[in-house]
């Protein structure tokens, strides 16, 4: 993953609330087997409406998206984060995010920035004509007009973003601890092995509803 220190540029001044993952990327786009190319389907239903922010040339390729409460609710599809990334979005600013979406965003180098509604209202206003800066070093969102909104991030996730760390590689370095846990469970909760004590009884089509 590429390190992220600062996201600076135009921002979609959207502010819409309860944007669910079906709006971010409709289900018929999920039949892909790669992470790339989903920007084409991002906000498809929104973009079908004339005058939407995503097709406004002023914001073309904007790296920041400003949204309302509960952004990314709905399904766990990581395609929502891939679609935003493919669209060029590197930070989303909203009063709240769904848990699953914010996890997916981090893992794809998109910063989910939580700011209060007043800050969102102000940023939507500013973003119509000006750039917005999300800075991970200072943990602030700033505008050219002296606005300065501090935000918080989980320290581990912040470090992963700043250093572009591969989370799987970091966990694999804990192999000894994981193996130790596994051997503990093998003696204390042996039924965790699938079909424990039941080996050999699995017949195709067998079972009950």
């Amino acid at each position: 993953m590429e390190p992220v220190r600062q996201v600076e540029g135009r921002a979609y001044p959207w502010g819409a609330k309860n944007i669910d993952t079906d709006i971010i990327i409709p289900a018929h786009w999920l039949k892909t087997t790669t992470r790339e190319g989903l920007g084409k389907g991002a906000f498809e239903t929104v973009r079908a409406q004339p005058g939407n922010v995503f097709d406004d040339p002023r914001y073309a390729g904007a790296p920041v998206l400003i949204a309302g409460d509960n952004f990314g609710c709905g399904s766990s599809r990581e395609h929502a984060a891939w679609a935003l990334a493919d669209l060029g979005v590197r930070a989303v600013i909203a009063p709240s995010f769904s848990d699953i979406f914010s996890g997916n965003a981090f893992k794809n180098g998109i910063v989910p920035v939580v700011l209060p509604q007043e800050a969102i209202d102000r940023l939507v206003e500013v973003a119509r004509d000006s750039e917005v800066t999300v800075d991970l070093e200072t943990m602030t969102v700033t505008t050219p007009f002296q606005d300065r909104f501090p935000f918080a991030l989980d320290p581990f996730r912040r470090q992963c973003l700043l250093e572009g760390l591969d989370e799987i590689g970091m966990t694999l370095a804990k192999d000894t601890e994981i193996s130790k846990y596994e051997s503990g469970v093998a003696s204390s909760r042996p039924w965790i092995a699938v079909g424990a004590g039941n080996e050999g009884t699995i017949v195709t089509g067998a079972g009950r509803t």
Partner: protein
């Protein structure tokens, strides 16, 4: 030795900590991993690119469900029929290739055990109390019905679990949702969970793990509990636990992937220690009374837009919150509905009985009981019954439910996600209205422009036979 009373969630969490970090996040061991075709190809590709194996294929189970057409899968001679949509076919082929390459146990589309992951897991005995269970699908919360800490994850996390059998997680807050009393005539588990979401709101459970408690939940079958836990995510909570009890043990015993013999006895002894201790504290509690719960359904485009079937479309102006007023008006515009309309005056064109919320045998029995001796109304364009698994389908056929449905004018399909998500050929056309037993009424969820009302299987059946949203109790009392 008096230790601090703990909740069910805290006990499961504590038993799965591999490593605790200073900031409180933990590396949590994952006991069970369900995999399907839509959220896994990029994860397997990631493993392949990094040269990493699947750490515990034996704790993993893959089954296709989302993309599969629900029309016949084999021709008269028993040969597999091709899948028309090349993208769907590609994803299904990718799953088959990936499970073969990485040695992951797999149930194929043509296997009688195939079905929606969240139906297959409990049915096969793969889902067990006290386990951590994940799947790249938000309705993984369903498995909480058996006392598993189960939640949906994204594809990067799918890759993380495949490679390490762990996840890095921050502990959640706990939310008790207690439903007291006993359910009235014609009120089903679906009505209970709709009432809960109507009460707490679509984001009410964000950041929490729910534990459903109270007499109503205790009295439910595992199938009913699965319906309730399934929709935890529609209330914003990633997991919705229900304490394991005798009902749970009876359900699991003898299932193909469940423990047996001595392992079974040890498992049950452990499972009995899991329920929340007396005196344990939840971060928040909400109490509902069964007497306040009627057969319910949604009127808008959020699962929190819940109303009793005897009620009417609310006036957007009646909401205290300004943003909810705007959202409600937008919902009504999309739904083609006007404030004040009685729910029972709303005509429908489609009926969908299926999805991981309501496609198990009890759901089909409940719907068939209403349909029996009646016929789908003339105005209905399509009425689908899609069993949650091949085994549910076989059982229903053994009981003659398929004939009740087909004689009434329903289509009887092969198992899969079907019309729940507009990803396979089953869709609701733009501007048309569907009475659906699924779990999401989002804009476009059942197809671009499709209008969805979420309700129970019995209510969906009632709507099918009258052609409008209907209080199922009227048809049920007529039966008695």
């Amino acid at each position: 030795m008096a230790s601090k009373p703990r909740t069910l969630y805290e006990k499961i969490w504590a038993d799965h900590v591999v490593e605790r970090r200073a900031d409180g996040t933990c590396l949590i061991y994952i006991d069970r991993h369900l995999v399907h075709e839509v959220t896994s190809p990029q994860a397997f590709a990631g493993l392949r690119a990094a040269g990493r194996p699947v750490r515990r294929p034996d704790l993993t189970l893959a089954v296709p469900d989302h993309n599969l057409p629900t029309t016949a899968r084999v021709d008269a001679a028993g040969h597999a029929l091709p899948i028309a949509d090349p993208a769907s076919a590609g994803q299904l082929a990718a799953l088959r290739a990936n499970v073969a390459e990485f040695g992951v146990p797999y149930i194929d589309a043509l296997d009688a055990r195939q079905g929606i992951v969240h139906v297959v897991g409990p049915e096969q005995g793969f889902t067990l109390p006290g386990t951590t269970l994940v799947c790249g699908d938000s309705h993984t919360s369903a498995h909480g019905a058996l006392g598993a800490l189960a939640f949906g994850i994204g594809t990067s996390e799918v890759e993380h679990v495949l490679a390490t059998q762990t996840l890095l997680l921050a502990p959640s807050k706990t939310l008790e949702i207690r439903v007291d009393g006993s359910l009235g005539f014609g009120v089903s588990p679906k009505d209970v969970v709709l009432a809960i979401i109507g009460r707490i709101g679509a984001a009410g459970g964000t950041g929490y793990v729910i534990e459903f408690t109270g007499e109503v939940i205790r009295a439910m079958s595992i199938e009913g509990r699965l319906t309730v836990s399934n929709m935890s995510i529609e209330g914003g909570a990633r997991s919705g636990l229900i304490a394991p009890d005798e009902t749970t043990f009876d359900y699991i015993k003898g299932r193909p992937l469940a423990p047996a013999g001595e392992a079974w006895d040890r498992a049950v002894a452990y499972w009995r220690t899991l329920p929340t201790d007396a005196g344990a504290v939840y971060d928040k509690s909400v109490v509902l009374h069964a007497t306040d719960i009627a057969p319910s359904l949604t009127w808008g485009t959020s699962p929190e837009d819940v109303v009793a079937i005897t009620g009417a479309i609310p006036d957007p102006e009646s909401f205290a919150d300004a943003s909810k007023r705007v959202a409600a008006q937008k919902s009504l515009d999309y739904m083609g509905l006007a404030a004040g309309t009685a729910m029972q005056d709303i005509a429908i064109e489609h009926v969908f009985i299926g999805s991981c919320t309501n496609s198990r045998i009890e759901d089909l029995r409940a719907a068939a009981a209403v349909v029996k001796g009646r016929h789908v109304a003339d105005r209905i364009r399509q009425a689908l019954v899609v069993p949650g698994s091949g085994l549910v389908k076989l059982q229903a056929e053994k009981e003659g439910l398929d004939r009740i449905f087909t004689e009434a004018g329903f289509e009887w399909r092969e198992p899969g996600c079907s019309m729940c998500l507009a990803m396979n050929p089953d869709k609701v056309p733009a501007g048309e209205r569907c009475a659906s037993t699924s779990n999401r009424n989002f804009v476009g969820r059942q197809g671009p422009g499709a209008r969805t009302h979420l309700l129970s299987p019995a209510m969906a059946a009632a709507a099918a036979v009258t052609g409008r949203l209907t209080d199922v109790r009227e048809l049920m009392s007529a039966d008695a």
